[in-house]
């Protein structure tokens, strides 16, 4: 039984890690703000969900498992809402052209890295 549970954990957490990878790649590679939002809304929340799923067998107590699920639900709710709000703000900024600078300037805008 223990072994089976560990199998579940390993598979789910590995899948979760993969989705985090996908989300990050999307965040970095997608061309503009609104497409990058997909990385935020979909891949990462799914990744966290899978990690939570994988941790459930290891949670030990029922309360621990319940709290794990609560964490995921909260992140889902907040992530979905906030990403929609960010999309609106991004659109508004593009409209009155405040901060939505063209992509070509991304590098000058850059960083010590």
């Amino acid at each position: 039984m223990k072994f089976m549970l560990d199998i579940v954990t390993v598979t789910a957490i590995s899948a979760g890690a993969f989705f985090f990878l996908a989300g990050t790649v999307g965040l970095l590679r997608f061309p503009d703000t609104l497409t990058r939002l997909h990385a935020l809304t979909k891949a990462d929340n799914l990744g966290l969900g899978l990690v939570v799923l994988g941790l459930l067998p290891q949670a030990g107590s029922l309360r621990g498992g319940f709290k794990l699920i609560c964490v995921w639900l909260l992140v889902l709710l907040a992530g979905a809402t906030v990403s929609q709000l960010i999309a609106r703000a991004a659109l508004a900024n593009e409209a009155n052209g405040q901060r939505g600078r063209p992509r070509t300037r991304a590098r000058q805008d850059g960083s010590p890295t």
Binding site: T81, V82, S111, T113
Partner: protein
């Protein structure tokens, strides 16, 4: 090098990178975004250092409230950035500052390296005296019993800071409403979140307060969560900030320290010393103080983020 050690090195490197970015970033907004991430990673560090109470505080303050405070200010001050760039100090001053900072950092690092390991500790003392309060969380014991005066004065500092913020209002606006009035969009996503999240947040906050007796948690962390929920409802425009002249508001603000003081003086009158709890009723007393404290902390933090009075009327 074990995998755990590698992990810690990665985490430390990340934190350093963000720290550099927070200082070097061109735009204030970018620096604030970096600072929010910095607070998030610090929570990880605190967990790694087995200080979960502190991690909770860091998550609530660094991850949440500071971000709101600084982002709001950055948004309002954006206009002044271009001017400020011209005031960048000259090379000599920058060099001197770099040398000074490097010396300080080196001194701190030396302190870290030379400090005796294991360091002198009061952990055993705290553990042996834990029975006096009946609480299982040593940090809560230290905060609420062994060094209760610090905590009492800390709450007074919070109040003083709030009085300071309020007193920045111009005479005309004194007693008015803090911060700008946020327009409500009753059907918007933000209003939806502001209706759905606070109930959950209140439950979590009370849970953190209750867990604080025997597990990591406590009044301040709970208060910070409640404050964030209140701010969310205010930012969504579902409710307005109460005017600072409201008497009910001010009663809530002094409730926590008031209860704390009364209990402390009770210890002075009927017990052995100021804030000396009778062993039999130590736990209920402490929990009572913490409950009152949580309410006060929530309101104080919320108002600290809301800022100085800026409107005479509720519009």
């Amino acid at each position: 090098m074990t995998i755990a050690a590698a992990l810690e090195t990665v985490l430390a490197a990340l934190i350093l990178a963000i720290a550099i970015w927070t200082i070097a970033a061109r735009e204030t907004f970018a620096a604030v975004a970096g600072f929010v991430v910095y607070g998030l990673l610090l929570a990880l560090v605190w967990v790694r250092l087995e200080a979960v109470d502190v991690a909770l505080t860091e998550a609530a303050i660094g991850g949440g409230l500071s971000g709101v405070l600084l982002l709001g200010a950055a948004a309002r001050l954006r206009a002044t950035e271009t001017r400020a760039v011209m005031e960048r100090p000259d090379k000599i001053l920058r060099l001197g500052a770099a040398i000074l900072s490097a010396t300080v950092a080196a001194g701190l690092a030396a302190g870290v390296l030379l400090l005796t390991d294991p360091a002198p500790t009061l952990a055993s003392a705290a553990a042996t005296n834990a029975a006096a309060t009946g609480l299982g969380n040593p940090v809560t014991n230290v905060l609420m019993a062994f060094r209760a005066t610090d905590t009492l004065l800390e709450k007074v500092v919070l109040l003083l800071a709030l009085v300071g913020v309020w007193s920045l209002a111009s005479d005309r606006l004194w007693g008015g409403f803090p911060g700008p009035r946020h327009q409500a969009d009753p059907l918007g996503a933000l209003a939806f979140l502001a209706r759905l999240l606070p109930p959950v947040g209140i439950v979590v906050g009370i849970y953190i307060l209750w867990a604080g007796a025997n597990h990591p948690g406590g009044a301040f962390q709970a208060g910070a969560i409640l404050a964030a929920m209140w701010l969310l409802v205010m930012m969504a425009g579902l409710t307005d900030v109460p005017p600072v002249s409201s008497r009910r508001l001010r009663l809530v603000l002094i409730a926590g320290p008031g209860v704390f003081l009364v209990v402390g003086l009770g210890g002075l009158c009927f017990g052995t010393a100021f804030l000396a709890y009778p062993v039999a009723s130590a736990k209920p007393l402490i929990l009572g103080i913490e409950a009152a404290m949580t309410l006060t902390i929530a309101v104080t933090l919320g108002l600290l983020v809301a800022g100085a009075p800026e409107r005479r009327d509720g519009q």
